[in-house]
Amino acid sequence: MKKFEKLTGLVVPIDRANVDTDAIIPKQYLKSIKRSGFGPNLFDDWRYLDRGEPGMDHGQRRINPDFVLNQPRYRGAQVLLARDNFGCGSSREHAPWALDDYGIRAIIAPSYADIFFNNCFKNGLLPIVLDRATVDRLFRETETTPGYRLAIDLAAQTVTTPGGVEFRFEIDAFRKHCLANGLDDIGLTLQHIGEIEAYEVRRRREAPWLFGRS
């Protein structure tokens, strides 16, 4: 997994609450058996005026000039600013894959849907929670300041505005550790093989029906 340490990145605002994973990456692209290549289809229904299908040349499609991602000032954005309950809906990890493939490295929102939040950490993507008032302020500053960039420091757990105002964010110690070191948590779990095996032995005795065939 990609490490996340520090980033100073251009911010793109998605000013809607409850942005769902169907909006982040529509279902037709979930037919892929690969992990990469979803970037051109991030927010596909909002980003293009025509209907997209897998295998199309997305560079040839009609773009929606009103959608924020298509505005030249936000080209190359690495930080996505969002509203409450971002990533609600399905468990598709294609949503963080699409954000990552597009170039987004961090998200800032007042809250996230649980599964999406969890999936981000598995892909080197940092979802930062800041309170509503702060997020409101960042939206205002992003919209009124062309080229608005935020500096994110995972070790210090801070987001710093171009004006030097610093906001602290909370993150679970384990997630921070994995993200900062780019660790694959399967490898970490497999350090506990003995405990998993001991658990299985005990449970097979206590509740053998849990180990029935399938």
Binding site: L30, R51, G89, S91, E93, D114, I115, H192, G212, S214
Partner: protein, 467 residues
């Protein structure tokens, strides 16, 4: 010491290891697998040279991409076909049991698991699918996971998790006639919002929940995720235990007796406490219809489309305005005056035999309105389909002008050929009314099976209580 909640009990029973940072390594009993969220996990496993930890824990079926029409010609869409074939090949190579597209037991993974007894009370059940919460209906800790976690479960039979908060939603009293499990859960989501259960595991309780059939309880738990909770669950009672008796993967004989005895403890202790506790009066719940693009945008069928100008919160108001534009609706419009183009009866929310019976009862001897372009019934599994045909439900539907299809997820999310065209409006028994969910530009109204069937006959929404 305060008593334990059902969630506490399920959690504690599955802790393999408590880590210093507050996370736990949690053992997974059953892993359900489908074609969409597994290929990258299988590939990751192979690339890392890892084996599947406990092959017999896994049960796979193809559901999202499969056609609901004649399957003898296979899947027309090459991309969909490759995904289903990839699942077939992976399961074959690794020895994982799969109900392939032509197996009579194939169907929506959340219908198939319980139907086979592959899901049992007291288990931890995961699947790369958010509607895994469905399985909580049996006193099970069940939740959806992403593809990285699918790979983690394949490789380790465990997940590293942080415990969620305990939340309870009680529905007390008796629901009126025509009010179903779907209406109850939509009313709950309308009350607490799509993020109301975020960070929590919701236990659904109260006399109206206890009164539900097991299938009704599955409908309620299915939509826990639509209230933001990764897991929803309901205590075990006699109905739960009886539901599993004799199912193919359920235990038998002496082990059955032991299991059934253990399952009866799968309920919250009387003195257990919940960080959030919500109460709804069952008698106040009316048949529900969503009007917007989030399941929380829901009103009773005798109501009207709400006016965003009455919403004080600016972000919510903006969402409502967006939704009304997308849905092409005006505030004050009576739900009953909304005309429909298509009807979809199916999905992991409402495609089990009781759902089909409820819809057939409404459709019996009637005709789908001439203005409806397509009304389709998609059973949740091959076994549900066979049972419905045995009861003659297929004839009722076909005589009324519904299409009777093969099992799968179908137009709930439109990954196969079943979809809405831009601008089409659908009464759907599925779980999400997000923009584009049933097809780009399509407009979804979530309802119960009886309400969907009634809307098919009338061509617009009607109150099933008046039939």
């Amino acid at each position: 010491m305060a008593g334990k909640t059902l969630y506490d009990k399920l959690w504690d029973a599955h802790v393999v290891r408590r880590n210093d940072d507050g996370t736990c390594l949690i053992y997974i009993d059953r892993h359900l697998v489908h074609e969409v969220t597994s290929p990258q996990a299988f590939e990751g496993l192979r690339l890392a040279g890892r084996k599947v930890w406990r092959v017999e824990s896994n049960l796979a079926t193809a559901d999202h991409n499969v056609p609901t029409t004649d399957r003898s010609k296979g899947i027309a869409d090459a991309v969909s076909r490759l995904q289903v074939e990839t699942l077939d090949r992976n399961c074959h190579d690794l020895g994982i049991t799969e109900f392939g597209m032509d197996d009579p037991r194939q169907g929506i993974v959340h219908v198939v698991g319980p139907e086979q007894g592959a899901t049992l009370p007291g288990m931890t059940v995961v699947c790369g699918d958010s509607h895994t919460s469905t399985h909580g209906a049996f006193g099970t800790l069940a939740f959806g996971i992403g593809t990285s976690e699918v790979e983690h479960v394949f490789a380790t039979q465990c997940l590293i998790l942080k415990k969620s908060r305990n939340m309870r939603v009680r529905v007390e009293g008796i629901v009126g006639p025509g009010v179903t499990a779907k209406d109850i859960v939509l009313a709950i989501i309308g009350r607490i919002g799509t993020a109301g259960g975020a960070g929590s595991a919701i236990e659904f309780a109260g006399s109206a929940i206890q009164a539900l059939s097991i299938e009704g309880r599955m409908t309620v738990c299915n939509m826990a995720i639509e209230a933001g909770a990764r897991a929803g669950m309901i205590a075990v009672d006699d109905k739960t235990v009886e539901y599993f008796r004799g199912r193919p993967y359920a235990p038998s004989d002496e082990i059955w007796e032991r299991a059934a005895h253990a399952w009866r403890d799968l309920r919250s202790d009387p003195d257990a406490s919940f960080e959030k506790d919500i109460l709804l009066e069952a008698a106040e719940i009316r048949p529900q219809v969503t009007w917007g693009t989030s399941p929380e945008m829901v009103v009773a069928v005798d109501g009207v489309v709400p006016d965003p100008q009455t919403e004080a919160d600016p972000i919510r108001r903006e969402s409502m305005l967006h939704a009304l534009t997308y849905m092409d609706l005006k505030p004050g419009t009576r739900l009953r005056d909304i005309a429909l183009d298509k009807i979809f009866i199916g999905s992991c929310t409402n495609s089990r035999i009781e759902d089909l019976r409820a819809a057939a009862q409404v459709a019996k001897g009637k005709r789908v309105a001439g203005t409806i372009k397509l009304a389709m019934v998609v059973p949740g599994s091959g076994l549900v389909k066979a049972q419905a045909e045995k009861e003659g439900l297929d004839r009722i539907f076909k005589d009324a002008g519904f299409e009777w299809r093969e099992p799968g997820c179908s137009m709930c999310l439109a990954m196969n050929a079943d979809r809405l065209e831009p601008g089409e409006r659908c009464a759907s028994t599925s779980n999400r009314n997000f923009e584009g969910r049933q097809g780009a530009g399509g407009r979804t109204h979530l309802v119960s099976p009886a309400m969907a069937a009634a809307a098919a006959i009338a061509g617009h929404f009607v109150d099933v209580r008046e039939l």
